[in-house]
Subunit: 158 residues, 2 copies
């Protein structure tokens, strides 16, 4: 049974997760599979780009953040998924050996008008490196069941 | 030397890339690493979620799209990276065995006011499955060098 439902998130909710260290091998491995641009793959090539050295793909930062949020929150929540992402900002490079911390807050929470079993929560996620510099922000709406919802019926395909 | 520069993208630009088949093993492998929610990991568990069966993490769809765009466009472009993503919409599940096609268009292109060597292009990306159903859209600003820019100097760290 989930621990967290729609009712557990309001605009005064905050959380902090991590740290999670990111290795050079992970950065290169992800890039080789999903974003094989030189600045994410090779130190020497990266030096000549505007990143000034090897740095993770912005998508990799998103995926690591997703894993941190899944482990710490979503796997224990009555989540019904997310319709998308409102905005991602890549502010600074993620370097090999950096340790990431994720801070979450809620910018909006509202019950669904049409479906009384659920609500929508807009999370604002901030990702920091070990020096406390903010390297990414992300705004993401999330659909969650209400605590009193009839779980089996409401989880049927929409 | 890059093939594509800022000048090559205007609001009449379009492109179509793919198809690229996505296997069940890929979907589960990505989920195990980055988004271990039951609907992305296990067919039986997924049946009881609102996705009604195993489907890829939305982040996985983003990453596959990124790879398709890198292979077909960005690795040949004078790209200076992206400051973020404006909006992602996950419209339909990506199922095991689906083949993805990516369609790109340009919604805005403008030269930088402060830096004459570069410009900003806003791409609108649409991802379709094999039945032609749109499963994801993504709006992404991209920074590109102008063709007449002095490459080595302008690629120095900003």
């Amino acid at each position: 049974m989930p621990k967290y439902y729609f009712e557990d998130f309001s605009v005064d909710w905050t959380a902090e997760y991590g740290p999670r260290r990111v290795t050079r091998e992970e950065i290169i491995g992800f890039a080789a599979q999903y974003d094989p641009q030189p600045m994410h793959l090779d130190e020497e090539a990266a030096r000549h780009t505007m990143l000034g050295g090897l740095a993770a793909s912005g998508w990799h930062t998103c995926c690591i953040m997703m894993r941190i949020i899944a482990d710490n929150l979503l796997l224990d929540a009555a989540s019904m998924g997310a319709p998308g992402i409102d905005e991602v900002k890549w502010l600074r490079p993620l370097r090999p050996g950096d340790s990431l911390t994720v801070r979450g807050s809620v910018t909006n929470a509202r019950a669904s008008q049409s479906r009384p079993d659920r609500g929508f929560v807009t999370f604002f996620w901030e990702v920091f490196n070990a020096r406390g510099e903010r390297i990414m922000t992300l705004t993401c709406p999330q659909m969650l069941l209400r605590r009193d919802a009839d779980l089996p019926a409401s989880r049927a395909p929409a």
